[in-house]
């Protein structure tokens, strides 16, 4: 019975929007725990170590480098986790957007809001 063939080609599965929102919330949570959070702790450490290290960090975050893009990306993943998380809280606490249509449109809304705010903020800082 264990030898039954199983077809699970992850590339061929087409998720509905709400499932996409849910799974990316989980994936972003993993990214935050293993990458963003240690990065935030590192930034906290550098910014409070002494005046020189603070100013070096302050200067280096102004210009567009690989490190800055990495920091910005880690923050934007955290922002995405917050937005999809708030969407889940609306469903859990107020039962808002639990219907098929409601969850579809709220996923689209959250994704668009994240894209627009992230790109806008990036442009505001670095361009």
């Amino acid at each position: 019975m264990n030898q039954r063939p199983v077809y699970i080609d992850l590339r061929k599965i087409k998720l509905p929007m709400s499932a996409f929102s849910s799974i990316t919330h989980r994936l972003s949570g993993m990214y935050i725990f293993f990458i963003s959070l240690p990065l935030f702790v590192y930034l906290l450490f550098i910014s409070t170590l002494n005046k020189g290290s603070y100013e070096l960090m302050y200067e280096s975050l102004q210009s567009l480098t690989f490190f800055t893009v990495f920091v910005f990306f880690s923050f934007s993943v955290f922002w995405y986790h917050i937005l999809t998380g708030v969407r889940h809280l609306f469903m859990d606490f107020f039962h808002l957007g639990e219907s098929l249509k409601g969850s579809y449109y709220s996923s689209i809304f959250v994704l668009c809001l994240w894209l627009v705010s992230t790109i806008g903020f990036f442009g505001h800082i670095y361009l």
Binding site: G29, F33, V41, L44, F45, S47
Partner: protein, 133 residues
């Protein structure tokens, strides 16, 4: 192997009921409030080192940051545990290969060990950084 079975058994026993569910939801609200507070501070901040340190090293912020870091780790542990028990099981790993499926419990135990150690390391680092300023 037996100790892993006991570990999985006890975590399942502990990680159930509505308390875990509520802890995850309400901690997320507290973390969000803390994050927004920091963002609002940074938007109006002067950018000088002394202002930043006197803000983050004030006794109120030390206490709040310590509390929030505990909440962040709790929130993360619940989420990571849920993801692990959803995907690192005999059934789901069996989709990939039968050999992996046989090792499901050990894989899940290792995964839990890794995130618990990481979480404790982060918590220790944050508390050390905050209280040493």
């Amino acid at each position: 192997m037996a100790c892993i079975d006991y570990w999985i058994f006890w975590t399942y026993l502990f990680m159930k009921g509505s308390i875990i569910w509520f802890v995850q939801r309400y901690s997320s609200l507290a973390i969000l409030a803390y994050f927004l507070y920091i963002v609002f501070y940074l938007v109006g901040a002067s950018g000088s080192y002394y202002d930043w340190v006197s803000f983050i090293a004030s006794i109120e912020m030390k206490a709040i940051t310590s509390l929030i870091s505990i909440l962040i780790i709790s929130h993360a542990f619940i989420g990571l545990w849920t993801v692990g028990t959803d995907y690192l099981t005999k059934r789901t790993l069996g989709f990939l290969s039968p050999a992996l499926s046989k090792k499901a419990e050990s894989i899940q135990f290792l995964y839990q060990l890794v995130f618990i150690l990481c979480g404790l390391l982060y918590l220790g680092s944050i508390l050390y950084i905050i209280w040493k300023i």
